[in-house]
Every structure is written in C-alpha cells, then in structure tokens.
C-alpha cells in the first residue's frame, strides 16, 4: 500500500480522473416461461439495467452510488471490475479500457462485496491473504510482511492465524477489505460493504475507507442504499435510478437539497399560531402532526435551506414561547429520497423539453 500523504477532501476539479465512464450500457434478457420460449424462441425481451451512464471519479475521491435494490449499482461495479461485459459504451480505469485491456484494469483496482462467501472459511486469514498475494504474482516471502501490515491497517493484526470460519461478520468484512488492499489498488470498488455490520463496526469501517481516500490517495466507489453513509462519508454522490443517474453532485449539496430538510419537533403545544406563521413566511413546509405523546405533541415538517434555516426556525419558536422539548432532523427513507430526486429530475427534464 502506498503510504503517501493524501490530499484530503480537495475539490474534484483539481484532480485527475481515475475512472471515466462513457455511455456505459447493459441489458439482460428477461427470463421467460418455457411455453413462451418455445413459441417465440428468437424474440427475447431485454431489460435495461444501465443506460448510457456517464460519470468521472477522481484521485483520492470517495464517490457514492446511492440507489434502491435493482437500480444497477452492482452491475455497474461489476462492469468496472471486468466481471460483466457491457453491451455498449466503455470505462477507462487508470488509463485502461475495460473492453480492450481488461487485464491491466484488474491490476489497477480491487472489488469488495458484502459477500463473505468469497473467503475460504477453512483457512486462516493469513492463508486467505497468501492465496490472493499469489494471484497477484507476489512471492510468499515478500507478501508475508505486507499481509501483516495490511491486516494491521484493518485492525486484524492479532487474527492472522485464526480460521476465517470463526470470524464475526465484521472481521470477515475487514478481511475482504484487507484482501483488496493487498495489491495496493488505486481504485476500490465497494458494493454495500457495511450491509452486514452492526452500527459501531459500520462506523469504524466507513472511517477506515475515508482514511484510505484521504491519506493513501485511493479512489473509492461506494455503492450503497444507505443515504447517511453516502452523504456523510462521500465527497460526491450519484443517485442511480433504473440505470440512469437521477442526480449527481457534492454530497453536502445533494443532502441539503433532497435529503436533510425533514425535521421533527417535540412540543407542548402543536397548535401554537407560530407554526402557521412559519408556514406563511415560507420557512416551514408540509407541516404534519405525527402523534400525541404523553399529553405533548410531535410535529413533522420540511425546513429548506440547510442547517442555518433550521436554527432560524428554532429561534423563532423559542422567541414565540413555544415549549420545544426536542428538535431533530429526521433521516429520510431511501425510497422517499429517491422519489424526490426522480421527481425533481423529471421536472427538470420536462422543462428542458418544453424549452426545446
């Protein structure tokens, strides 16, 4: 692993593109019933999974791909890893084309899935690592110190001789990451790596990824269906919906725009006139009483404009002598987030179409 001091969260514009995806397209044949296949053997229907996708990922960048199940995240990562062939388009990874130079692409990247099955559970962590060191053509003598170093990076320094079958899910996930890091890849493809981790292990794992990008200059593409994971740890996020990018931008901007304006307020008086005043002034939208708790009220609303406007709403409530017991931002479910983004995407497309 390269130990150069990384650039931290620099602006993408100042960095070189490590991954360039250009009009990448993939479709699969729809599985048909026997009778249909016999009636029309040559008329297979296809479903488009990735459609003319374009994106760039830069040096030392942690790039999130957010999407519901079936959005095309895994297919995209597998195409970048040369495990699936695209129907059209291409991607340039570290200067190499996935269609014509797959071997060089594989030398530049590593993929980590949440699939613990890809480890040999009857071997020790060290033996699992040695196998992949060999597949990367490293000599065992050279690989052993590197393996110890890499296991230490992911916090498994004392588990090298233990059989993987005795590991917890979190340890196996760390081992998968260590296995990927063994070849010092410049690009890491992570497919829902925290899916099977408990919240603390997931938090530690995400910080480790962030550290790899910031300090070691690794470009990370993180596919996830956890908006918090994408918006908190990634530099930029693409929201994938039905194989196309519905939104792409800096994580903070997307979060402010789509994901973080829903608030929940615990108060003693949910019908205080101040709430309606805030709605009239446009500071608060979609005011909804949620439930009545122990004689108090819980109110949900949208507050646009980021944290500053949230603070402004709170200030006005307090100044109006509304008893605010709790005031918190609500994590938006992914489905709602995607629905909002798709709605905004459709509106923009319709407007552009009308102009044209």
């Amino acid at each position: 692993m390269r130990r150069s001091e990384g650039p931290g969260r620099r602006a993408p514009a100042s960095r070189a593109s490590r991954v360039s995806v250009r009009r990448l397209t993939k479709s699969y044949a729809v599985r048909r019933r026997w009778i249909d296949a016999l009636r029309r053997p040559f008329s297979a229907q296809r479903t488009i999974v990735i459609e003319a996708l374009e994106l760039d990922v830069f040096d030392s960048e942690m790039f999130g791909i957010l999407g519901l199940n079936g959005a095309g995240k895994t297919t995209l990562l597998k195409m970048l890893a040369t495990l699936i062939l695209p129907d059209a388009g291409t991607a340039i990874i570290g200067g190499h084309d996935i269609n014509t130079d797959a071997h060089a692409v594989r030398a530049n990247l590593a993929m980590v899935t949440a699939d613990e099955r890809s480890l040999n559970w009857r071997l020790s962590a060290n033996e699992n690592m040695l196998l992949f060191a060999g597949l990367h053509r490293m000599k065992a003598k050279e690989a052993r110190p590197l393996i110890a170093d890499t296991l230490a990076t992911v916090g498994l320094q004392s588990a090298g001789d233990k059989i993987v079958g005795t590991f917890s899910s979190g340890m196996r996930q760390r081992l998968l990451l260590a296995r990927a890091l063994l070849s010092s890849p410049r690009i890491l493809l992570m497919d829902e790596p925290t899916r099977s981790l408990d919240p603390i292990a997931a938090h530690d794992f995400r910080r480790l990824l962030r550290d790899l990008a910031d300090r070691h200059g690794v470009s990370i593409i993180l596919a996830t269906h956890n908006p918090d994971e994408a918006f908190t740890y990634c530099d930029r996020v693409a929201v994938l919906h039905r194989g196309t990018i519905a939104a792409l931008g800096r994580a903070s901007e997307l979060a402010a725009r789509f994901g973080r304006e829903r608030y929940r307020i615990w108060t003693n008086n949910g019908e205080h006139p101040c709430f309606n005043a805030l709605v009239r002034r446009g500071l608060v939208q979609d005011l909804t009483p949620v439930e009545d708790v122990d004689g108090g009220f819980v109110v949900e609303c949208n507050i646009g404009g980021g944290e500053a406007q949230g603070a402004e709403v709170l200030r006005r409530l307090v100044e109006s002598h509304v008893a605010v017991n709790r005031f918190e931002r609500v994590a938006l479910p992914l489905s709602s987030l995607i629905a909002r983004i798709v709605e905004a995407h459709s509106t923009t497309a319709a407007t552009e179409s009308a102009r044209a």
């Binding site: 890809s118 040999n120 009857r122 071997l123 597949l135 000599k139």
Partner: protein, 266 residues
C-alpha cells in the same frame, strides 16, 4: 505460474483440513489393490492368451489400466468440479477479478486434484511392483510420456465440461458417459480385442484405447516406440484437437457468462 501454485496450495490446505477424508483417500488404496491382486492372479491362466498382445501378466495389465483410468478420471472431472465449487462458494468472481491469467487459473484449479491423483497412482504402482507386477523399467520414461498425452487429452474434455458447468451449472451425465465409455471400451480391465465386433468400432473414438494399448506394450512387454508409433500418433492428434477445442469452448463460455452476468449465480 505463481498464481497456479497459490491456488494449488490453497486447495491442498483446504483438503488437509478434512483429515478423515484425506486418510480414507490414501488408506482406500488397499481396498483397490488387494482385490485386483487376488482376482488377477486367479484369472492369469485364463487371460494369458487374451492379453498377450499387450502384456504377459494379467496383474500388471489390470493395475496399469486402473492407474491410467484414475488419472484420466481426475483430469476429466477436476476442473468442472473446481469451477462448480468456486461458483457455489462465490470465489470464482473474486479470483477472476485478479490480474491472474486464465490459463494459470485453470491449471491452479486442476493442479491439486491431479497432483494428488499422481501421488496415489505412484503409491499404487510401487505397491503393485512390490506385490509382483512385472514392469519393463526401460519403457517407463516413454510410458510416462504416453500417460501425459492421455491425461492432456482428457484435460481437454475437462475444459469442455467446465464450460458446460459455467453455462448451465451442470454437465449432466456427460462426464459419466465419457468415463464409463472409456472404462468399458478403452480396455481398462480387458484388451479391446475381446470386445464384440459390433461395438468395437466405438472404442476407436476413445483416446484411452490408444493410450492404454501403447502404454502396456511399452511398459509391460518392452516394445519399442516404433511398434506403438501409430497409436501414439493418433493419441497426439486427439490431444491437439481436444485441448484446442476445449480451450476455445471454455473461453467462449466464460465470455458468455460475463455477458449474461452469471459468473456468481449458482
């Protein structure tokens, strides 16, 4: 071939972790050899004339047939079963995602099974010689060459079967048909000359027929290369065709699995 050795080593360590299975695999040789020894000696007077074109002693004849067949079985089935296991365990994608060459991966997948089969064959051969099997030692180097050709031919069939496993997750009864046909028509326990004429023509399609006949004539009768040249030429041609077709079919199957995205679907 560092990639191949890494896979072979990993397969060895995995197999060694199943200690009882490994013990049975070696100890079971006793149950293969002892019945052969007693039955072959009992049948020696009856078989002496029948096998005279290939050997003088039925015990040596049948041991060499059994050894060759066990190696051929391993060469045919080790790659398809390794691919099948790797798909089931989810390791195939991870391995194909590394920069290791496809050829090295295939050799690595087959390697442990073949090395283990060779070790078992060597033990079987050594014990058979100790029990009295008559071997012409000067023919052994040439015999090993013929054995290698037979193994490579069946490795080519293994590539085709592995391709079918990769596409359909099963090779159906193909391996059984090929190996059973080779056993009964290839002359493992009796020379092909005793097979009824109406089915003997089929024996010509099995590489084992040529390989085993040449092998016995060289190692058990001490015949020169010139005597078996025709069989070796046919076997070499079969090897070339089998490996070429196997490699092509395997590559096409892998590309198709990549295109339809089923490398990790079990």
């Amino acid at each position: 071939m560092r990639e191949s050795w890494a896979l072979i080593r990993s397969a060895w360590l995995t197999a060694a972790s199943y200690r009882m299975a490994m013990f049975i695999s070696l100890f079971g040789l006793v149950f293969v050899l002892l019945p052969l020894y007693f039955i072959a000696n009992a049948l020696q007077p009856a078989m002496q004339q029948t096998i005279s074109g290939e050997a003088r002693q039925y015990f040596g004849f049948v041991v060499l047939g059994a050894i060759c067949f066990s190696l051929v079985s391993t060469c045919t089935t080790s790659l398809p079963s390794a691919i099948d296991g790797a798909i089931g365990r989810g390791t195939l994608e991870a391995i194909l995602g590394t920069p290791a060459r496809l050829r090295a991966i295939c050799v690595g997948f087959m390697g442990y099974g073949v090395i283990w089969a060779i070790l078992r064959a060597a033990i079987l051969f050594g014990v058979a010689v100790w029990l009295g099997a008559v071997v012409v030692w000067r023919g052994v180097p040439l015999g090993l060459g013929v054995m290698l050709l037979v193994m490579l031919t069946y490795a080519g069939f293994g590539l085709v079967l592995a391709a079918i496993v990769m596409l359909f997750r099963t090779s159906g009864p193909l391996a059984t048909v090929l190996l059973t046909g080779s056993m009964f028509l290839g002359g493992v326990y009796y020379p092909t000359s005793v097979i009824p004429s109406w089915i003997r023509d089929l024996a010509a399609f099995f590489p084992l027929t040529y390989g085993l006949r040449a092998l016995r004539q060289i190692m058990l009768r001490g015949d020169s290369f010139a005597y078996v040249a025709r069989d070796v030429e046919i076997l070499a041609a079969m090897t070339a065709v089998s490996l070429s077709v196997g490699t092509l079919v395997f590559w096409v199957a892998l590309q198709r699995a990549r295109r339809v995205g089923t490398l990790s679907t079990y």
